[in-house]
């Protein structure tokens, strides 16, 4: 038993460092490029996710502005129809897969292990692999902008048969398919890691019903990703087989049925919208109690409604397909489940209101963003329930009313909550705080810009303006609403620019904050800011749901307990840290090369060449991947021991 303990990942006694062959060298750099390429620290990986997400958020935002410029006036020729198709395809793909999801992943990585009192995620190197694979996918999806193939232009849903080789020849869509495939691999790998971490790495006393709500929503989201992404994986495999090898999955003349793509896509696509919103709901459930100076109202109900949103989310996909002729029974069933899913969502809203009710509200920047979230998400929810009524939906389908709806839930919901989260946790992550004036200014500009952009689109949509058309005629009665929306989009752009400008300024020069600046309740705030590499010098013992609050009011008890645990841990050899590793990065490179081989390289025109360029590049990528993964497993999950007291003694 003792030996088994010593071999396990997180406990153990000092072992003799064994000399390793050159290929199994373990990097130890703590600063510089190598340290970032080989990092397995969940906080650094979270930071990498965050930076990438913000970069792509900027890219997606610029694409959105291009779309709005084109639609500002009737019969505009700012973009050609092809460019317009590329813009709306890439705007959606970028915002969903490369901005909101990785920004959520950044919070999962950075905050979740801190909230459960862990020192890292369960599989630190797998976590690094997830990030590098995500980056490879992001590169592949965007590669088309720089090649003569152009960017993908079949919409973020890439409905078959539009997306088959007959109607969309060229490599742009291959890149989209491979890119989304890689993003799926990255998301599933990361989610497996989060699930195991939450289930298995909780500090002593941290029962499931004491988990902070953000951690709960991480768990639900991770399960959604694990179970929903395989559907899109198969859809993409089938599309790729059609495109590369001439199979018949979506080839009508040979018995294929394009409706299958639509089903598979939305079996993934609808859980996906909960993947986008549930992390935000978790963030809001952390912020509201902190700034209301009250515990969360109805914690178990908030958790259960989050979980039931996750379950119900798998049974509503066909409400995206009310106009495909499913028949009365199917339509009615999906209309019913869609209305049912509004119930747990409404429950959450009432719980948030209950949390604030009678509280001592502190109107700090994160709180203002959280309040904005509740308003806007509620508006988006109302138009969502309108879509659930199938007869009404057949009028609204594919109109700007739908565009208005999902921007209210995606920007007003997901994005506002994540922006709130950035403000909330910024002091913990970097030890600095954005000034209240600039934070609130950015909120009001974003809030106004957002509503000016998307509120008029409801009316334009009800007046019949269809989505995904690159221009419209002046006599349709849509001109006024569109012009207002474009002006709003630029105000929104200015707001986002203020937000991030101030954020970057604060990162370098902002006011330093004290420990626990918001006087918060959850465990992560017990750490110094920024948190050290090993997070917790002593793994905390959890006594209450709001454990940091408990610790603040039971200091004598907690410090005695911590001293005891510190002594036990020292007897085990100190704080166990995993070694860094370069192989997750190499595996990501292998995946990138393989994907380039599949999606970007032309097949060799000479049929007599057995291994052409395309196959060769693909195989090289596969080989790099396999060798990296093998070396990764050979080097083992060893680690070293830290003794923070000694380091402090030296310095």
């Amino acid at each position: 038993m003792a030996d088994a303990l010593a071999k396990s990942d997180f406990l153990g006694r000092e072992e003799q460092a064994a000399p390793k062959p050159f290929v199994l060298w373990r990097p130890t750099a703590k600063t510089g490029l190598i340290s970032w390429l080989t990092t397995v620290d969940h906080k650094r990986i979270g930071f990498l996710y965050g930076i990438s997400a913000l970069f792509f958020f900027l890219v997606g935002g610029v694409e959105a502005l291009f779309i709005r410029i084109q639609l500002a006036v009737p019969n505009n020729s700012f973009l050609t129809s092809t460019q317009y198709n590329e813009m709306f395809t890439m705007h959606a793909t970028t915002m969903i897969f490369l901005a909101i999801m990785p920004l959520s992943a950044a919070f999962f990585n950075f905050i979740m292990p801190l909230q459960i009192g862990a020192r890292d995620v369960a599989f630190p190197r797998l976590n690094a692999f997830s990030f590098w694979t995500f980056l490879a996918g992001a590169i592949i999806v965007n590669l088309g902008w720089f090649l003569k193939s152009g960017a993908p232009d079949a919409g973020w849903f890439s409905y078959a048969p539009l997306s088959t080789r007959t109607y969309t020849p060229g490599h742009a869509l291959d890149m989209w398919v491979m890119g989304i495939q890689l993003l799926g691999v990255a998301s599933i790998a990361a989610s497996l890691n989060f699930v195991i971490t939450i289930i298995n790495l909780r500090a002593p006393g941290m029962t499931m019903m004491r988990l902070p709500v953000f951690t709960w929503m991480t768990l639900v989201t991770a399960f959604l990703i694990i179970l929903a992404f395989p559907a899109i994986t198969i859809a993409l495999v089938e599309l790729m087989m059609d495109r590369l090898f001439g199979t018949n999955f979506f080839e009508v003349s040979n018995g294929g049925m394009p409706i299958l793509w639509t089903h598979l896509f939305w079996v993934f696509g609808h859980p996906e919208v909960y993947i986008l919103i549930l992390p935000g709901m978790g963030v809001i459930s952390e912020i509201l109690p902190t700034f209301s100076r009250k515990p969360l109202f109805g914690y178990p109900i908030v958790v259960f409604s989050g979980a039931s949103i996750g379950f119900l989310g798998f049974g509503v996909w066909s409400h995206h397909m009310f106009t495909t002729g499913m028949g009365t029974m199917g339509t009615a069933a999906f209309a019913f489940t869609t209305m049912a899913i509004a119930v747990p969502t409404g429950v959450k809203i009432f719980n948030w209101i209950g949390t604030m009710w009678g509280g001592h509200l502190q109107m700090r920047t994160p709180m203002i963003f959280a309040l904005g979230f509740i308003w806007l998400f509620m508006l988006g929810g109302f138009s969502g329930v309108m879509h659930a009524a199938a007869p009404a939906d057949s009028q609204q389908h594919s109109s700007y009313f739908v565009v208005a709806h999902f921007h209210y839930v995606l920007i007003g919901g997901s994005l506002f909550s994540l922006l709130a989260g950035i403000h909330y946790w910024f002091p913990l992550m970097f030890g600095r705080k954005v000034s209240e004036f600039w934070g609130k200014l950015s909120f009001w500009v974003i809030f106004c810009g957002f509503n000016i952009t998307f509120f008029p689109l409801h009316f334009v949509g009800l007046d019949g303006m269809p989505r995904r058309t690159f221009t419209y005629d002046a006599n349709m009665g849509w001109s006024q609403g569109n012009l207002v929306a474009t002006i709003g989009a630029f105000i929104l752009g200015v707001g986002v620019a203020i937000y991030f400008g101030v954020m970057i300024y604060t990162f370098f020069k902002g006011e330093r904050t004290r420990h626990d600046p918001w006087d918060a309740r959850t465990l992560e705030w017990s750490l110094p800011n920024p948190p050290p590499e090993y997070n917790y010098r002593v793994i905390p013992t959890v006594h209450a749901r709001d454990n940091w609050w408990y610790e603040k009011h039971h200091q004598a008890e907690v410090s005695a307990e911590n001293a005891k645990h510190a002594a036990e841990e020292a007897a085990h050899g100190g704080i166990h840290m995993p070694f860094q590793s370069i192989y997750p990065f190499f595996a990501g490179i292998g995946i990138l090369i393989g994907a380039i081989g599949i999606a970007v390289i032309d097949p060799n025109p000479d049929p007599h060449v057995i291994i052409g360029r395309k196959l060769a590049v693909t195989l090289v990528g596969l080989l790099i991947l396999v060798v990296s993964v093998y070396l990764w497993s050979l080097e083992g999950n060893e680690g070293y021991h830290l003794h923070p007291e000694d380091e402090e003694g030296h310095s």
């Binding site: 694990i226 559907a231 018995g255 049925m257």
Partner: protein, 284 residues
Amino acid sequence: MSSTAAGAIDHHFDPSTSTGIPNKKLLMWAFLASDCMFFGCLISTHLIYRLHPPPGVPSARSVFSIELTSFSTFILLMSSLMMALAVNAIQKGNLKSLRASLLTTIFFGCIFLGCQVYEFNNFVFEKHLTITNSILGTTFFTLTGTHGCHVAVGVFWLMLMYIRTFQPRDSSRDLRWFLCNALHIVAFIATILLGMRLVLGVVRGMEATGVSAATLAHFARGYFAELLGIVVSLGLLRWLAQPRGAVGFNETNAIDVEMMGLYWHFVDIVWIVIFTVVYLLEYI
């Protein structure tokens, strides 16, 4: 019985985790949940398209050879038994039995893959069912091919695990072991590929001309290089498997074998489903 100094290890409880379930085991269960959805979508695709055949699609019964598939299904089931024995062996610290069970599992896995290669060849060249010429070919080859890839990954993993059981405990020989390890992998892959080619060659020869001394002689001449290669690679495998002092692989690695076992059993169960709904369903 135990190869570690500290006494018996509880293989079902890991005190360093909150639930007592080892992290790796939980990871594999969660991954298999994901893989369930993955195969669920593929199998559904096949079943949906099966209900709506366009005119001119060959009937599946006229293409399938249920005898061969039943045989390979049985072999794959037996490989699961061997896998379970392997897990049992390492949990008791019995390396010799572990290696034997792993090799048998690999062998059975290769028989299954060989049957699939033969079946695909037969369907394409004899029955003229290709991945492009009909919707049946499209869904059949994609589904069973994807499963075959899973089996191939499993065989690869089993092979690496088998080779890892020779990792010496004495770390000063690490570089030497590392090179041996690389050679071991190459020899093993060569054995598998050459073996499959030879067996399929024999089968094809026998199908063409029947079993006779002349056929065998012709075969030996035609496949001389392969025969030589497999003798060399088998010799290498034998040499590399010789005991060279204490190894580091012991009871504490049982979780690694068990995790692999979970994957292998899952792939086996998926095949049971595929065999039922793709093959047997056509004979009802």
